[in-house]
């Protein structure tokens, strides 16, 4: 152990000297200095992860990605079409693409990747679990029609396949990158503008531009450091040890505001699919009465929360579907304290009622949930509802929700993929997993029918209408009350050029970034 420490220390010192020398040389040679950014977690879970790295690092690319409006857009697949019955999807692949080990990207490689999907599924990941039966429900066959065409055949119609395949659903790697069990045999070899060249778990990773990238080549090498504490990231930015932040919860709103007072910094706002909700226990009083649930929703001033607690960084929501989804319809956001009081009086009369208001302690690291809860508590008091706030540890929180030992639970929820049917199935469908497990107890026949029907509906316009209607119905249920949508505050040093957020694409233009 002693020699290990010794050796490592020595290596680190040596390495530091080398870096110093390199920096000196590079300064003299006027080469671009390394761009250093940081996130709160390690974006490289590693070999036993289905994707090895987060899509944010652009080491690998999917067949289908998302455009800035949230719709599926071409990436490694240039175009696609579907048969009349929705069971056969044909993808036309982009030509002239090379993997980072210089093997060509073609139909054969795609087939190999799908074969790998079968082997690894179901697989866990800190990003999104990979489950082939959810992303490719009823997949029968994957065939290479010619060198640049792949056909997927399904047992049942899958009208929304591209939505399911977005990003993490269709990651492509070199066929030589896998072990027997389907996981990685070394660094990930994707087609992206960056190669992963170094990784120290939970410390940092280094990316270098891939010279043979098919598209706009990356300008500068990047080092992504792991700094778990938001305040430390703040200090590192100020000390110019890092030049930007990345990933969910990049900086808390309060710290971001403080940092922006300094002229050196600017911010890129990146909308995420994560939104904040109140889960209402509809299986027991008092929230088994929709009027009281509506009263709660009406009493809360969402604008106030976003403006005061999040410094304006957030998008209030009137619909349960995050605005990051293209299917989201802007339903009216209501705030009417008088009406709320009236409804509460109607239900409770002169009595007061005590409820448990729970939220998980891990959320405190990223969001001002305590103040949020205390605010809501103060508002509910005026309705005759005495909310008892309980901050629970993650596991205990889940337990409480499953056991129905709560009346109101506050938590955030992200969209697992671009197809809203997944989230509707969880929380709106009468026997949906979330609905039942968390005791929301929402039942609506029309919504059920629409959700099931939409799974097979090929016409995009019709789907849109169906989903709009589902959102309207869900809203009137007030069982899963949306508050507002989260945004990530990517504060960066103005010396970092080319660092742009790509809207609902949930991405940052790393490849354009360089330091002045």
């Amino acid at each position: 152990m002693h020699s290990f420490v010794h050796r490592r220390f020595f290596l680190v010192v040596l390495w530091s000297l080398l870096v110093f020398l390199l920096l000196v040389c590079s300064a003299l040679a006027q080469e671009r200095p390394e761009v250093i950014i940081a996130g709160h977690r390690d974006l490289v879970p590693g070999e036993n992860d289905p994707y090895y790295t987060s899509t944010l690092l652009h080491v690998w690319e999917p067949l289908v990605t998302r455009d800035e409006e949230g719709w599926p857009a071409p990436m490694l697949a240039e175009s696609w079409e579907v048969s009349e019955d929705g069971r056969v999807w044909t993808f036309h692949l982009r030509r002239g693409v090379l993997f980072q080990d210089l093997t060509p990207f073609n139909a054969e490689a795609v087939v190999a990747n799908f074969e790998r999907y079968r082997r690894i599924s179901p697989a866990n990941s800190p990003f999104y679990p990979f489950r082939i039966h959810e992303t490719y429900p009823g997949l029968k066959e994957v065939t290479a029609i010619d060198e640049y065409t792949v056909r997927l055949t399904f047992e049942e119609p899958v009208p929304a396949l591209p939505f399911l395949m977005v990003n993490f659903g269709s990651a492509m790697f070199s066929p030589r990158n896998f072990r027997e069990d389907g996981f990685f045999n070394g660094f990930p070899i994707g087609t992206g503008p960056y190669r992963l060249v170094e990784h120290k778990k939970d410390e940092y990773c280094r990316l270098e531009p891939f010279e043979h990238y098919w598209g706009q080549k990356a300008i500068s090498p990047i080092r992504v450091r792991v700094i778990p504490q938001a305040e430390t990231r703040f200090s590192a930015l100020k000390a110019e040890e890092i030049f930007g932040v990345i990933d969910i919860g990049a900086l808390t709103p309060a710290l971001a505001m403080e940092l922006l007072k300094d002229e050196r910094f600017a911010v890129e706002v990146s909308p995420s699919t994560i939104a904040h909700y109140l889960f209402m226990n509809g299986s027991r009083p008092p929230f088994d009465d929709v009027r009281l649930r509506k009263a709660v929703s009406l009493a809360i001033d969402r604008e106030f929360i976003v403006r005061e607690l999040y410094y304006g960084y957030g998008e209030v929501m009137g619909t349960i579907l995050s605005p990051a989804s293209p299917f989201s319809v802007p339903l009216p956001i209501e705030h009417d304290l008088a009406e709320a009081r009236r409804l509460a009086k109607e239900v409770l009369g002169e009595k007061r009622v005590q409820v448990r208001f729970i939220f998980p302690s891990w959320s405190l690291e990223r969001y001002p949930y305590k103040e949020q809860a205390e605010y809501i508590q103060s508002v509910l008091r005026e309705l005759g509802i005495d909310a008892q706030i309980q901050i629970l540890e993650g596991g205990a929180f889940n337990e409480a929700m499953k056991a129905g030992e709560y009346e109101i639970a506050m938590r955030n929820q992200g969209l697992p993929n671009a197809e809203p049917n997944t989230i509707f199935t969880w929380y709106v469908l009468s026997d949906g997993a979330g609905n039942v497990e968390y005791h929301l107890n929402f039942k609506d026949q029309e919504a059920d029918a629409l959700i099931l029907q939409a799974r097979r509906e090929m016409d995009m316009e019709k789907r849109f209408q169906m989903y709009a209607r589902v959102q309207e119905i869900a809203k009137e249920g007030y069982h899963w009350i949306p508050l507002f949508n989260n945004v990530d505050l990517l504060v960066y040093n103005k010396r970092l050029k080319g660092f742009r957020s790509l809207g609902k694409k949930y991405d940052v233009t790393l490849w354009e970034a360089y330091l002045e």
Binding site: M1, F4, V5, R8, F9, V12, V13, S16, P45, G46, E47, N48, P122, N124, P126, Y128, P129, R131, K200, K201, D202, E203, Y204, R225, V226, I227, P228, Q229, E231, T232, S235, A236, K238, A239, E241, P360, W362, E393, G394, G395, A396, F397, N398, E399, M401, R411, Q413, G414, P416, W426, A433, G434, E437
Partner: protein, 315 residues
């Protein structure tokens, strides 16, 4: 000490270790939440299907009765296999081995700092006890200690890292990266040692044999070092043992704030993530270190005063 004592001690140690691991196994069952759902559920972002949960449970033997699981684990450990992390699927031994050196480095640096200010400060304060300096130091050090670690760290990072750019704000690298975390990590313990040593020295210095030594003309320093210190040092020694016993757990708070890639952070992640194999291995390693340290301290007692033999029975 006789060989018999040593054997007895060793057996005790083994028994204690077993006890620790058994208790850990029992305790983890009490922790709220279904570990499988937590592992697969990712902070509630996803709902694992009942099928997945069942698969996971059988694959990792979590569906067996507790004592079967324990003996299986014990058997594996005796064969040198500490299992694989539920989260990263890598061997637990590898996970711990990667992170332990960083924690040890930080812990030893912190300990050195603590010992330095503790011993020097304690002696100094005993010497000047009752003076203005004594009172001033008392107030300042207690102010320091009454602030949660987090705040001390943030203040130091902001002043020394951010404003005056003397040290890096976080991460691991050169010796400069070590300074701030070591200071934060060691200061609390250092203050404790300082106050403890001061009190113990004063306690011993009040004894008659000290007066006698002084009366015989021995210098103040000599009296302090040769007579007062050995007896006054007992509790400080015990505290050292407790501190060093726990260093493998590192300080998760310090490691998190300073982005120090240590084992303390890993341990906390393992607990909240319900990564049982990792947690169990940690407990084992923890247990070994603690027990070994306690034994070492007992031996040191003997060197301070050969009359002292723990375990000796009193009629």
């Amino acid at each position: 000490m006789r060989h018999y004592d040593w054997l007895q001690r060793f057996l005790q140690m083994v028994l204690t270790l077993l006890g620790i691991t058994v208790v850990a196994f029992l305790l983890r069952e009490a922790i709220p939440g279904d570990p499988v759902e937590i592992l697969l559920g990712k902070e509630g972002l996803f709902q694992p299907s009942p099928e997945e949960v069942r698969l996971f449970r059988t694959r990792f033997g979590l569906d067996r009765p507790l004592f079967v699981q324990y003996f299986r684990w014990l058997g594996d450990v005796l064969r040198g296999d500490l299992g694989r992390s539920f989260v990263t699927k890598r061997p637990v031994a590898q996970e711990i081995r990667e992170r332990l050196p960083a924690t040890l480095l930080l812990a030893l640096a912190g300990f050195s700092f603590a010992v330095l200010i503790g011993l020097l400060g304690g002696v100094f304060l005993a010497f000047w006890s009752g003076s203005i300096v004594d009172h001033l130091v008392r107030v300042v050090t207690l102010l320091f200690r009454s602030m949660p670690t987090f705040f001390v760290a943030v203040v130091l990072i902001t002043l020394l890292g951010e404003r005056w750019r003397v040290f890096p704000t976080s991460g691991m690298g050169s010796w400069r990266h070590l300074v701030l975390p070591a200071v934060v990590s060691g200061s609390g313990f250092g203050i404790l040692i300082m106050r403890l040593l001061r009190t113990n020295l004063l306690q011993v210095l009040g004894n008659d044999y000290i007066l006698a030594a002084r009366a015989r003309g021995l210098s103040a320093w000599k009296v302090l070092l040769k007579h007062a210190f050995p007896n006054g040092f007992v509790s400080v020694l015990t505290m050292f043992g407790l501190y060093l016993g726990g260093i493998l757990g590192g300080s998760p708070v310090v490691e998190t704030i300073f982005a120090w890639p240590g084992a303390g952070r890993l341990l906390v992640q393992a607990i909240y993530g319900r990564d049982f194999p990792l947690l169990q291995a940690f407990v084992l390693v923890f247990g070994v270190t603690y027990v070994a340290m306690q034994m070492l301290v007992d031996v040191c007692y003997f060197f301070l005063n050969p009359q002292v033999r723990p375990g000796k029975r009193i009629v």
